[in-house]
């Protein structure tokens, strides 16, 4: 399957031939760091191999459109409930620099004792099945070819079917997974014996396939009342999962600690978060660090969330990280919208490029009490935590005693920890002692096993297990009517009919978001904002963010609603925008050629702002490329304009015509053309017009060479002028 950049992902092609599709590799892939890399005008210290296709940061326009890529893998978490819609989100994220795509599981999958098959719809996530994984991996294989960088696919090896899912992940080319039996125990209420027994098998399977493991400690941050007080326990949780993984033969380079800077402003974030980050990196040298961004204190304000996430990312660069995970800035108010995945990825890559080479100019004061002292204190508190576990009879008893996720700063305890009964929970009593002759004739098995003789493979006697011979994998397509083919009927029919709807999550969901400032006290303003949204035609409007600007002067609201509008694409007339010439090329051509441009607002028209934006260097106008601009002002007579053009030897005349009543803007354009013809100078002079109601088609219909409407910049006009002048110069244009 091959993607074409200007064509949409063909979901029907993704879904065809899945029974035969095989992933191209197993295991995790890191970026390829390049220590000193010249990209455009800059030498980068912390960058990696670039992308073949991408959407650069907006400001890259001022830097020759470079798109440097940092050395951290960048994660985005995706889950709309429908994997077929998520594939498009993955493609967009990859174009913006994400190379770790984490698929959140549907609510309740943890409690299903076995694998799910087919493609049912999920809630708050996607049901992870063989078909869903295979289709997603197939699409990601095509997407990674399109952008030119491997993409790591990730989900969860937890719940009651951990070992089953681990095998499934190896078979289907999943590259990373969360695996931490403490997560099952503390947050899912699954029996702890079952969780730990299953975990060893799952970890062994993952380790042999090179799947990167993330632990679950970050959940304690998200759960604790005061997240910075749970830091000693976080050390303990990381350590238990790390030691358990090592015992299941997982190498340190596959053990990634999932760590979150625990606080957010207005707390003094960096001063609290850095000692913890350093203590962790001291104690777990050799492991990998998956730095997550903070969700504990996220509110509905996406700008505020972004600032916290930027600070989290700076903590990563100041200490160390291998993966920088991103949180969508809207996670505090809804299941993430697709363009907010992109916003999160962009905030992170923008930050990481901005702090490239930070270590060359800034160093942490590692010996200062605020760092060394605090860091040591957190470690000692963690040691005391472990001592109490051992004294009281081990891990299971400690959980039974509520020692974990207590909101006290250990050894302080508030008595509000999570309490679980070692003999209780989901699937209690389901671990079975292995009999003396126990055997499992397969690879990647953990524990006693009569087939594990150390000589040859355990699966040798019957021709090999699926890990050695993938042709033995049994593919099940669908098992009931809740499946992707049913869900796609509507969207595919609308697409075939050429219909377009807005969306934020699922195909054509119609959801839009409007921002409204209302100058009144908060409650009145909110009522007004909702009514205004209704009058805009939005169905079921709902305030998703409210910020008081002043208790009496007004509040600003973001309101989401459904816009039930389907447009027919063949009734739309998109402008045929030409690709602009690079700014450097425009300037090179202009400098030294002495190009003069005469410009004015014509007719009875006193508007001057638009023209200044096109001409003046301080507004990014065409002066900056070396055009000599002669601006004659407003309400200028056309005769006077052409006199001036003759006097200075102008190459082009630009008119601004904003007033439109009675079609006066069209009359002005025709008159300019006619006058130039009468004077016999039309062939030597480029004539163009601009204004809010001017279009290129209209201007050319009036005899001019070009028209520029709303949103035009100096770059647009300069690009046109240089193209036209160059053509005149080399004779390719009359």
């Amino acid at each position: 399957m091959k993607l074409v950049p200007n064509e949409k992902l063909d979901i029907e092609e993704v879904l065809s031939g899945l029974a035969e599709y095989r992933p191209r590799r197993r295991g995790w892939t890191w970026r390829q760091p390049i220590e000193n890399q010249q990209i455009g005008a800059f030498l980068y210290r912390d960058s990696s191999k670039g992308l073949e296709r991408s959407v650069p940061l907006p400001t890259a326009h001022s830097f020759d459109d470079i798109d440097p890529q940092c050395d951290f893998v960048i994660t985005t978490e995706i889950a709309s409930g429908r994997f077929e819609d998520d594939l498009r989100r993955m493609r967009m994220a990859a174009w913006h620099g994400a190379d770790h795509i984490m698929v959140i599981r549907t609510t309740g999958q943890s409690h299903i004792d076995g694998l799910i098959e087919g493609t049912p719809e999920g809630v708050g996530g996607v049901p992870i099945t063989r078909k869903q994984l295979r289709a997603s991996r197939k699409a990601l294989d095509a997407i990674e070819d399109e952008v030119g960088r491997p993409i790591n696919f990730h989900s969860y090896v937890s719940g009651l079917a951990g070992p089953d899912i681990a095998v499934l992940f190896v078979e289907e080319g999943v590259n990373g997974a969360h695996q931490d039996p403490q997560y099952n125990t503390l947050y899912r209420g699954i029996n702890m014996h079952r969780s730990f027994v299953d975990a060893a098998e799952a970890k062994r399977i993952m380790a042999d396939a090179g799947i990167l493991q993330l632990d679950g400690a970050h959940n304690a941050n998200a759960t604790a009342k005061q997240a910075w007080k749970v830091t000693p326990e976080l050390m303990v949780q990381h350590a238990i999962n790390t030691a358990y993984s090592r015992a299941a033969s997982m190498p340190d380079e596959l053990i990634a600690l999932s760590t979150v800077p625990p606080t957010a402003p207005p707390a003094p974030k960096l001063r609290l978060d850095l000692p913890y980050a350093l203590a962790l990196r001291d104690l777990f040298q050799g492991c990998r660090f998956r730095a997550q961004q903070n969700t504990r204190y996220i509110e509905a304000d996406t700008r505020e969330a972004t600032v916290t996430h930027v600070l989290d990312t700076i903590v990563s660069r100041l200490t160390s990280a291998h993966i920088q995970s991103t949180i969508t800035p809207d996670e505090g108010r809804n299941i993430p919208w697709h363009y907010n995945n992109i916003a999160g990825v962009n905030a992170t890559r923008q930050t990481l490029m901005g702090v490239d080479g930070l270590a060359d100019v800034v160093a942490l004061r590692r010996d200062a009490p605020a760092l060394a002292g605090m860091s040591r204190e957190i470690k000692e508190r963690a040691v005391l935590f472990l001592e109490e576990i051992v004294e009281n009879g081990g891990y299971y008893q400690a959980v039974a005693d509520g020692q974990f996720v207590d909101s006290g700063y250990y050894p302080e305890r508030k008595g509000d920890g999570i309490v679980r009964d070692p003999a209780g929970g989901d699937a209690a009593g389901t671990v079975v002692p292995r009999e003396p002759g126990y055997g499992a004739p397969v690879c990647s098995h953990f524990g006693t096993n009569i087939y594990d003789s150390g000589k040859g493979k355990a699966c040798g006697t019957y021709g090999g297990c699926t890990l050695c011979d993938p042709s033995k994998i049994q593919y099940i397509d669908e098992v009931d009517d809740d499946n992707v083919d049913q869900r796609l009927k509507g969207p595919l029919a609308e697409r075939a009919a050429g219909l377009l709807r807005p969306e934020v999550e699922k195909h054509g969901d119609g959801i839009v978001c409007v921002t409204l400032f209302v100058p009144a006290e908060p409650l009145l303003a909110e009522a007004a904002a909702l009514e205004m949204a209704r009058r805009m035609g939005l169905e079921a409007p709902e305030v998703i963010s409210r910020r008081v600007m002043h208790p009496a002067e007004g509040s600003v609201f973001e309101i989401k609603g459904r816009l039930d509008v389907a447009l027919k694409v063949d009734e739309l007339h998109p402008s045929t925008s030409k690709e602009l010439l690079p700014e450097a090329e425009i300037e090179d051509w202009c400098r030294g050629r002495d190009v003069h441009v005469v410009a004015a607002t014509v007719g009875e028209d006193e508007h001057s702002v638009g023209l200044h934006e096109i001409l003046d260097i301080k507004h990014g106008g065409i002066e900056k490329y070396g055009f000599h601009c002669h601006a004659l002002g407003t309400s200028v007579d056309l005769d006077k304009l052409l006199d001036e053009a003759a006097a200075v030897g102008a190459h082009a005349v630009l008119i601004s015509t904003m007033v439109t009543h009675g079609g006066v803007h069209e009359r002005n354009m025709r008159a300019l053309h006619d006058l130039a013809v009468q004077r016999g100078i039309r062939n030597r002079l480029i004539l163009a017009a601009g204004g809010t109601m001017v279009t290129d088609a209209l201007a050319r219909a009036c005899g001019l060479d070009a028209g520029f409407g709303r949103g035009t910049t100096g770059h647009d006009v300069a690009s046109f002028l240089v193209r036209r002048l160059r053509a005149l110069e080399d004779g390719s244009l009359g």
Binding site: D113, G114, L115, E117, L160, A161, G162, P163, D164, V167, H193, R194, F196, V197, D198, E201, M235, I240, A243, Y244, A247, D282, L283, K379, E380, R381, V383, L384, L386, E387, I389, V390, G394, Y395, G402, G408, Y409, P411, E412, K414, G415, T430, V431, V432, P433, R434, E435, G437, Y438, G439, A440, P441, V442, C443, T461, Y462, T466, L467, K472, Q474
Partner: protein, 117 residues
């Protein structure tokens, strides 16, 4: 203050740690972690579960539906401790059939009397 509440006794409790160098503290940390993890991993080595046994049958080329069916039946008969994969493999050897054929026969209700290890 309830029984499970406790003030921050860090200063009094840490006295035995004060003199340790950072390296000694790290070593102490990891030795404690091992003491916590050792009994857990010993249990994992010597116990199994329906999920582990399903994952073995998956690796032997059964579908998830087949693996679940077989493991549930073996569990009901108290056979899981022998290993689902071992029971299927040894049956296939005894009958001179493939692993898949042995599994399909069991799923069809045949040969269960021959499974007694």
């Amino acid at each position: 203050m309830s029984l499970s509440e406790r003030p921050d006794e860090f200063e009094s409790r840490r006295q035995h740690l004060r003199a340790l160098s950072d390296e000694e503290l790290h070593a102490h940390f990891w030795s404690l972690v091992e003491q916590v993890v050792d009994p857990l991993i010993d249990e994992a080595r010597s116990y199994t579960s329906s999920s582990i046994e399903r994952s073995v049958l998956l690796r032997m080329g059964l579908s998830s539906i087949e693996a679940k069916g077989l493991v549930d039946s073996m569990s009901q008969r108290g056979l899981l401790g022998h290993g689902a994969g071992r029971l299927v493999l040894e049956l296939s050897k005894a009958k001179g059939v493939t692993v898949r054929e042995a599994a399909e026969a069991l799923l069809a209700g045949q040969h269960w009397e021959d499974l007694a290890p």
